[in-house]
């Protein structure tokens, strides 16, 4: 571990970045076989589609690196979507900070307690507040957040790229990131080394949940309504799958945020390619499952 900090290991580098090669292969195969695949419009659609999984996945990667898992991200998205609608009368200046704060607060609870319990009560709370209904709204700011463009690029994609870059930097270079990996790699050693385990754990869950809250704001803005019941359902599984496929070991000890986003991109491309080739959606579920198993199997072999 320490030696690898000083010496560049080609084989390790290749093994770590195998996901990029796989992505390249998927893109190349599709460009050759799928009609209308290699168009700018399709690239843009794909990027827009992975925004939510990328945001949630970036946070999830931090939690997984710690050796944990956050199941409540989808429920947070549902609750935040309700909060967006109910806070809208006070203006967007209130909506965004309060929504992020909600995510942050739930993350604090998760760090202390259990994400499984949060799944239940957070989604329950969202349904209680909204009566279980979708609530529609019209607001120019939210419409801009949902569909707007910055310098010709979709706003949500730009924000996601910036946030993923920050998360990747934090995981790789910051003290917090090193602590995450150390605690996830060997908890008792980290404790003996005097690392602040509780604080780091809480911070990781808070970051994950805050990013889920941002994804909740984004999805609400894009759809133009809240949905306490359906927003974010199963996104935790997509995020975990993306992280694992992207090279973050589920056992903890390694965070590869960029890998997670590339993993999300690849899984989305496989789904999209199957749909574009008139293969129905359900087969893409089977393909996704096979990819996840294969990725984890290969990871496990590499370690032993």
């Amino acid at each position: 571990m320490i030696a690898s900090l000083f010496k560049f290991d080609w084989r390790d580098f290749a093994a770590r970045n195998v996901i990029f090669l796989v992505l390249l292969a998927v893109v190349a195969a599709n460009a050759a076989l799928t009609p209308n695949f290699a168009t700018l419009r399709n690239v843009e659609i794909t990027l827009i589609q992975i925004v939510f999984v990328a945001l949630v996945g970036a946070g999830m990667t931090l939690v997984i690196a710690l050796g944990g898992i956050d199941l409540s991200v989808g429920a947070v998205m549902g609750l935040v979507s309700v909060a967006v609608v109910h806070l809208l009368p006070y203006g967007f200046g209130v909506v965004l900070p309060v929504c992020l704060l909600i995510g942050f607060a739930i993350g604090l609870c998760n760090g202390l307690l259990v994400t499984l319990a949060s799944v239940i009560w957070v989604r329950g709370l969202a349904q209680v507040i909204s009566g279980g209904r979708k609530e529609y709204f019209q607001d120019p700011t939210l419409q801009f957040i949902g569909l707007g463009r910055v310098a010709g690029l979709p706003l949500q994609v730009v924000v996601t790229v910036v946030i993923v870059a920050i998360a990747a930097f934090v995981a790789r270079r910051s003290l917090f990131g090193r602590r995450l990996a150390a605690i996830g790699g060997n908890r008792s050693a980290a404790r003996l080394a005097g690392l602040p385990i509780a604080a780091t754990t809480i911070a990781a869950y808070a970051a994950c949940s805050t990013l889920a809250a941002l994804a909740g704001v984004f999805v609400t803005a894009r759809v133009g309504s809240s949905d306490p019941t359906n927003f974010g359902v199963l996104i935790e599984l997509d995020a975990i799958a993306a992280a694992v496929v992207g090279g973050t070991a589920l056992a903890g000890g390694r965070a590869n945020v960029v890998g997670t986003v590339v993993g999300a991109l690849m899984l989305q491309l496989v789904t999209a390619a199957m749909i574009m080739n008139n293969i129905s959606f359900q087969y893409s579920l089977i393909a996704k499952a096979a990819i996840i198993l294969l990725a984890v199997y290969l990871q496990g072999r590499r370690r032993t």
């Binding site: 898992i69 199941l71 307690l113 259990v114 499984l116 319990a117 949060s118 799944v119 239940i120 009560w121 957070v122 989604r123 329950g124 709370l125 349904q127 209680v128 009566g131 279980g132 359902v233 199963l234 599984l237 975990i240 799958a241 694992v244 589920l250 056992a251 129905s280 959606f281 359900q282 087969y283 893409s284 579920l285 089977i286 996704k288 499952a289 096979a290 996840i292 198993l293 984890v296 199997y297 496990g300």
Partner: protein, 322 residues
């Protein structure tokens, strides 16, 4: 933790509190229910709660064994759904072939999960997550995204689903028999005790000469088979197979198991607590169902907070014991 220690006899105080905790919570819920609604404790209502939660109970019994063995099975909802449709499709050949077919399909899937986990060494969370996704795909690919109504062979199935023996719906004795067998196996057989050993400390279990891989495969097979059986009960109760049903059932089952005092880390727990956990979830839901003044969604908030409470108490007991 050693295999021989008969946990039943020399239960440490933590175990007692854990068991007492879910019992106390259940009593409180029953008392609140009786206070909110006069019909709550009526026999008809109680039996109805049992009937409605039989599917969850069967799945949760299997989940208990998996969790005690240190694993987790996220695929139960998908297995249950697939098997309910299989049962409906096999119904024209008679009730017994339909039920047996569904059971076998469930067991085969569980066996597959076990193989992937034990032989390919893939984390249970990921392996069963993959089969959750894949089985949903398989179910919809094979049967379409819709309700598959029970047409031919309907009589036998609905007779079974609504059958009442001595005033008790047929689901109740089925759950009781399955739970009793599971209790006996866990508490009094070599296989059962080795499940605890594997969940308590896999490396020690292996050094003791236990066949860890086989035990794991067996446990997932049982979970799959019970999910299959749950599918049969579901199909019989609603007289249909619903291909997009069963989402989130794994979370309900895990909640029941955790509420019942089985440690999610493995090695400690039992079926009795899980049944109490299922009853707790079932009656809680029922209270909100009967009382029109309460939002039905509030039930989830209460359940989540309850689970938080129980797990916090559990983990504090656990750290104290170490």
């Amino acid at each position: 933790m050693s295999v021989d220690a008969p946990r039943r006899m020399t239960a440490p105080s933590g175990d007692f509190v854990r068991r007492a905790g879910v019992a106390a919570a259940l009593i409180v819920v029953l008392a609140i229910g009786a206070w909110r609604s006069p019909d709550f404790l009526a026999l008809e209502n109680v039996l109805n709660v049992f009937r409605q939660n039989a599917v969850l109970a069967l799945i949760a019994v299997g989940m208990t064994m998996v969790i005690i063995a240190g694993g987790i099975d996220l695929s139960v909802g998908s297995v249950m759904t697939l098997c309910s449709v299989v049962a409906v499709k096999l119904a024209p050949y008679g009730f017994a072939p339909a039920a047996l077919g569904a059971l076998l399909v469930g067991a085969a899937i569980g066996f597959g999960n076990g193989l992937i986990i034990a032989k390919l060494r893939i984390a249970p969370f990921i392996a069963t997550l993959a089969s959750l996704l894949a089985l949903r795909g398989v179910t919809i690919a094979a049967f379409g995204e819709e309700t598959v109504p029970l047409n031919m062979g309907r009589a036998a199935f609905t007779l079974f689903g609504r059958a009442v023996w001595l005033g008790v719906p047929v689901q109740v004795p089925i759950v009781v028999v399955v739970a009793a067998i599971a209790m006996f196996v866990l508490g009094h057989t070599r296989f059962g005790r080795s499940i605890y050993a594997v969940g308590g400390n896999e490396d020690s279990a292996r050094m003791l000469g236990l066949r860890v891989e086989r035990i794991k495969i067996a446990v997932y097979t049982i979970s799959g088979a019970l999910s299959g059986l749950a599918g049969v009960l579901f199909a019989a109760r609603v007289a249909a197979g619903i291909t997009n049903y069963g989402l989130g059932l794994e979370l309900d089952a895990i909640t029941a198991v955790a509420l019942g005092g089985t440690l999610l880390a493995g090695g400690v727990g039992g079926v009795t607590g899980t049944l109490a956990g299922v009853a707790l979830i079932g009656f809680l839901f029922n209270i909100f169902n009967l009382d029109a003044t309460l939002s039905p969604f509030l039930q989830k908030v209460v359940r989540g907070l309850l689970l938080t409470l129980v797990v916090v108490i559990q983990s504090s007991l656990n750290t104290r014991r170490r």
